[in-house]
Symmetry: C2
Subunit: 131 residues, 2 copies
């Protein structure tokens, strides 16, 4: 897959998440993947995302930087949202928060095989404790 | 600069950090750069790194994943170290910790012009509170 095709596939994956078309994950994610070192099924990965979007209905994956090469994608994703239910171990307080996720993906045969994600929970903690 | 040359430059930058050759930063970092959205001088950037390596003498930048394209570099850096002084707002307790930094760089004319970094402080917090 060319880098341009890889980026197009990755952007289509984010659009599916943003449009909550989680059935479409079969197109973008392998049956099994490695998430931060742990093996999980696509169903479990889907459930993680579904939990997040239930807790944060206005969660929108805004890709700020995408770097792709040789079946690897790195993305800086910015979130600007208002959690309604506990999220990442934080209790919502009705306040809007902004934070980044920096995430690496390994693609195999055009689908995600591994994910390494760091979410800026420090930023979330600082914003939610401000009042 | 080709992607291969960009990766070689980036690896040389990490080696300079690991060998504490901070005078060499002039080769790798612009006079001014943007760090997580804030403008700073190379001197200020150097001071940030010097503070970290003073607090954590065995800090070693271990590049696990590097993705480079079109003057952008993304890196997953793994740290396995024992802080001796307060570090990132945490008090050391003599315990060894492991954590990742996911960081994006914009290069201009072969040197770093912008940095977007997320450090997994959540992992640090969890490890330091374990006992």
């Amino acid at each position: 897959m060319t880098n341009a095709a890889l980026v197009a596939t990755y952007r289509a994956y984010l659009t599916a998440l943003n449009e909550r078309r989680l059935d479409d994950l079969v197109r973008y994610v392998h049956d099994e993947l490695v998430y931060n070192g742990d093996t999980m099924t696509r169903r479990q990965y889907r459930d993680l995302i579904a939990d997040d979007t239930e807790a944060v209905p206005d969660l929108f994956y805004d890709a700020q930087i995408i770097v792709a090469d040789n079946n690897r994608v790195a993305c800086r994703i910015l979130f600007d949202c208002t959690p309604q239910l506990p999220f990442l171990g934080f209790s919502p307080n009705g306040q809007r928060i902004t934070f980044a996720e920096h995430v690496f993906y390994d693609f195999g045969d055009g689908r995600i095989a591994a994910v390494w994600s760091v979410i800026d929970r420090h930023a979330i903690r600082e914003q939610l404790s401000r009042r």
